[in-house]
Symmetry: C2
Subunit: 211 residues, 2 copies
């Protein structure tokens, strides 16, 4: 069964899902959505994703949204195929879940604000709120200091194995490093920098960036 | 092994964890933390939870933080004990994960803002930002409209079974209904109201409120 992924390939959430499907060796078809023409608010789309955001997947007659839920679903459904992304024990999975939550709650939100104000707004001619930009950068710096400490003790976030916890960080970090001139936030931290070089050089991520 | 839960029993995140432990029949000891005296910023506590928030659990020499990660860990570790909270199939678990993410990303944040501005700030003599309160209520109303539609088709969020997805909504909804005078947001929606009556009358939740 080929998985249909509804969503443009430039959004962080869609990229997160695609990276997972590629790591697991799952076939997919991308169904592009024209966000500029508000295709994500179209009644047909809202039947699949009532919140009107991307992505949503269709796998036969099973549909699922929320990118991190989709990651977990495929990592569990195809546990023994492709890269093992949930750890080997229930404790390892617990730690994967912990860092996946940290990514969703603490890491992604300040980067999302930076992207909106430093990349999206300028394109639309809307002035950035520089106080909010500064606050978001401060929040992110504190989070990254904790990551630096963590990654000085283990190669990846959940331990010495690459997992969904790391994978989920790829899209936002890519924007941070290569799109909005904040690469120093990663590069000034030795262990975070080495971790980023490692995870961003995975063939799955390179393939996502080519889509 | 008795699970140590570090955190005061009035915070939403600690209550979420306690409700899960009680549903699964797991013994726990609560280690109170004096947030007013900033015990959560104490170096000893930060060794357990580097972000300085509650709760964190200690289970033998295994420690874990992020309340929704702790829920998943115990629901999976003791899958066949107490209430089944993750569904029976990988698809059911996928949908549980979807609504658990919706709770964490869309439902909890606006309620958290309402609690801070309508309950915490008044106690501290800090004026509430009423524009932010209004925006948060609007956001929450849109989310609740989607819940109303969903709950008109299935008894619980993930299907016809109570799961972590529902359980995770208990603490914030309790504050919304009983502490900040916004009960009409639940009561004005027939299916959401019936769902709240159902999940909030579970013995596990009544026990959490007595702690």
């Amino acid at each position: 069964m080929v998985v249909k992924v509804h969503g443009p390939t430039f959004t962080a959430a869609t990229r997160r899902v695609l990276a997972c499907l590629i790591e697991k060796g799952i076939d997919y078809d991308i169904v592009p959505l024209d966000l500029l023409n508000r295709a994500h608010k179209d009644p047909e789309y809202l039947k699949l994703q009532p919140f009107g955001v991307v992505p949503v997947i269709e796998d036969g007659d099973f549909t699922l949204y929320e990118s991190r839920a989709i990651l977990r679903y495929y990592a569990e459904k195809y546990k023994s195929e492709g890269t093992e992304l949930l750890g080997k024990t229930v404790e390892e999975r617990g730690v994967v879940e912990q860092w996946l939550e940290v990514e969703g709650q603490n890491y992604h939100p300040p980067i999302d604000t930076l992207i909106v104000h430093l990349k999206v707004f300028p394109k639309m001619g809307v002035p950035a709120d520089m106080k909010l930009v500064e606050e978001s950068e401060e929040k992110l710096a504190k989070v990254l200091d904790i990551y630096e400490e963590r990654l000085s003790k283990s190669k990846y976030l959940a331990g010495d194995f690459f997992s969904l916890a790391d994978l989920s960080h790829l899209p936002a970090t890519e924007y941070l490093v290569n799109d909005i001139g904040k690469d120093y936030m990663i590069r000034d931290r030795k262990h975070v920098s080495a971790w980023w070089d490692d995870i961003s050089s995975r063939p799955s991520w390179k393939k996502v960036l080519q889509l």
